[in-house]
């Protein structure tokens, strides 16, 4: 017997094609000036070296949304970092999870982006919250293809 509720803790996979080069997608996810356009206006601080911190702050810099660590960095293919949502006390108390960005070049001027958010087994509230990746990666596509961001949603 299955329940109607969504599987909370399995890995989550988000995949889409973007009309951009692999390098352009890599730049978009590692350039704070572009990340802010598709990620809720966040201020991003990182050197994007393995072991470096990846901090995200609210648009005005007053709140820390995330203070994560770069686990792997292989431009322009693969970026892996830890994830903990610090803007909510329940999620901040849950164990750290992991985000993997994979970018593959495709024929016809496309890049394929796959985002995997896993290690969510003991982090049910985070798992439910990060379903918003759909909006984020769709927004990234819009930014890269049109230069403009989608209207904000919550």
């Amino acid at each position: 017997m299955t329940t109607a509720s969504q599987d909370a803790t399995a890995p989550q996979v988000y995949q889409l094609y973007i009309r951009a080069s692999q390098e352009e997608v890599w730049d978009a996810i590692t350039n704070p000036a572009i990340v802010t356009k598709f990620f809720h206006g966040a201020q991003i601080e990182s050197t994007y070296e393995v072991g470096a911190r990846l901090r995200s702050l609210s648009p005005d810099g007053s709140d820390i949304w995330g203070d994560n660590t770069i686990l792997e960095c292989d431009p322009p293919h693969r970026l892996v970092h830890t994830w903990r949502s610090l803007y909510d006390p329940v999620m901040a108390a849950e164990p750290e999870s992991r985000v993997t960005w994979e970018i593959e070049a495709q024929p016809g001027g496309f890049a394929k982006l796959t985002l995997i958010h896993d290690r969510l087994d003991a982090s049910p509230k985070t798992a439910a919250s990060v379903r918003g990746w759909s909006y984020i990666v769709s927004n990234l596509k819009t930014v890269l293809e049109t230069g403009e961001a989608l209207p904000p949603v919550m």
């Binding site: 299955t2 329940t3 109607a4 509720s5 969504q6 599987d7 399995a10 890995p11 989550q12 996979v13 988000y14 995949q15 889409l16 094609y17 009309r19 495709q106 016809g108 496309f110 394929k112 796959t114 995997i116 379903r131 759909s134 909006y135 990666v137 769709s138 596509k141 989608l150």
Partner: protein
């Protein structure tokens, strides 16, 4: 296999089948299932039927497979539905909302 790229037709076609929507619902409830596990979830289908429908869903980008060890896991990819939502549903919802607001303004004598 041709990737879905930006092909909305593939997504609409994949969604226009109750068995495929059932498979998506099963993955929504329990993501990352293997073929064997998915077969058990829809006992009314043959293995061939499950594979055929999964192929259509994968081609449309609605299901993404990942290999872990010896097993291939099937994941529901919500992004194509999100893109259709933004392209089609959000637009018309806004238009309807605007029409309702206009009606209210007219009824309240503001125009």
């Amino acid at each position: 296999m041709v990737p879905f790229m930006d092909d909305e037709d593939l997504v609409f076609r994949a969604l226009a089948d109750s068995t495929r929507r059932l498979l998506l619902d099963r993955l929504f409830e329990r993501d990352g299932l293997t073929l064997l596990e998915l077969e058990a979830e829809v006992p009314q289908l043959t293995r061939f039927g499950v594979m055929r429908h999964l192929g259509v869903l994968e081609e449309a980008g609605l299901v993404v497979t990942r290999k872990q060890g010896r097993h291939k896991h099937h994941y529901l990819n919500p992004v194509p539905i999100r893109l259709i939502y933004e392209r089609w549903i959000d637009k018309y919802r806004d238009r309807r909302a605007a029409a309702l607001l206009e009606l209210r303004d007219q009824l309240e004598g503001r125009k």
